[in-house]
Amino acid sequence: MTMSGNAQSNVPSDAQKKIETYLSKLRQSLRGLNDQDAREIIEELRSHIIEKSATGGQITIAAVGAALAGLGAPEDLASQYTTDKLLARAEVSRSPFRILKSLFRWASLSIAGFFVLLGSFLGYFFGAVLMLVAVLKLIHPRTAGLWIFPKANGELDISFRLGFGSIPAAGRDVLGWWIVPLGWIAGSALVMLTTSIAVWFVRQYRKSLVLPQG
């Protein structure tokens, strides 16, 4: 890619300043992208603004203003680039962190995204708890695990304990050492299932729109 600044010599300084202010705001809003992608977007739009502004002959500040109006607010324009990139990455990703990051972006755009984010967060949270209990059982064998406690009203309270604190009185460790394989298998299965469901929703969402916004 080669960038040239000689066209900018034909641009009056006030118009040039207006272009650079717009592109600078856009650059700031493109923070989620890598440098190469962001630079390409900026240069392509710089080229567009200059050429569009020169359509009537002389580049004037009014012509630049009209060209910028056609592109829309820099924050909105950047959001179209970054949202799609994030969702595209989530589609091929198996990383819960990356998927949650993309879902946060989607949640900021629609209520459907919010519910998918909420469901995914719960899925990852319980998956992580199961795996954590399985690991901590090896460190705190007498206190970590799936415990049942009888309550005063006769009901039973079921909870996962990470093994910190004293041994619960009157409680019963339901699974014993079985929590190690079962917790690990169930936890990783839940994380994988959550990932598959989240990626499926992201794929449907991307298919349903030409662009994530607008």
């Binding site: 066209a7 240069e43 080229s47 567009h48 050429e51 056609g70 592109l71 179209q80 595209a88 662009l211």
Partner: protein, 124 residues
Amino acid sequence: MKRPEARDPEAADKWEVQLRKGCLELAILASLWDGKLYGLEILRRLESDSDLIVSEGTVYPLLSRLKALGLAQSEWVESDAGHPRKYYALTSVGRQRVREMAGMWTRFSESMTRLLAPLVKGNK
């Protein structure tokens, strides 16, 4: 409970927006069928050869997405205007895809034209 309006201009506008949006990807890919074009040329082609009203702020992110999907590729070319232009061209996958989309579009529009024929005749 609020009764739905028999004639809701806002709903009709939304439908038209969605219809145009749905065609945009096909329109951009089709505009590249004969050869490479840069962003502003694509916009001008869409304005002159289609009924689509397209904003620049929609086309550029969409071009970026088509490139990410592997349907289009781009290259920077120095121009006589004094600044480089980013040209887009269809990839072989993109050519295949636009051919399939055009086939789907033709079948769909023919069936809709048949369905709508009585309405169109009735309006005359």
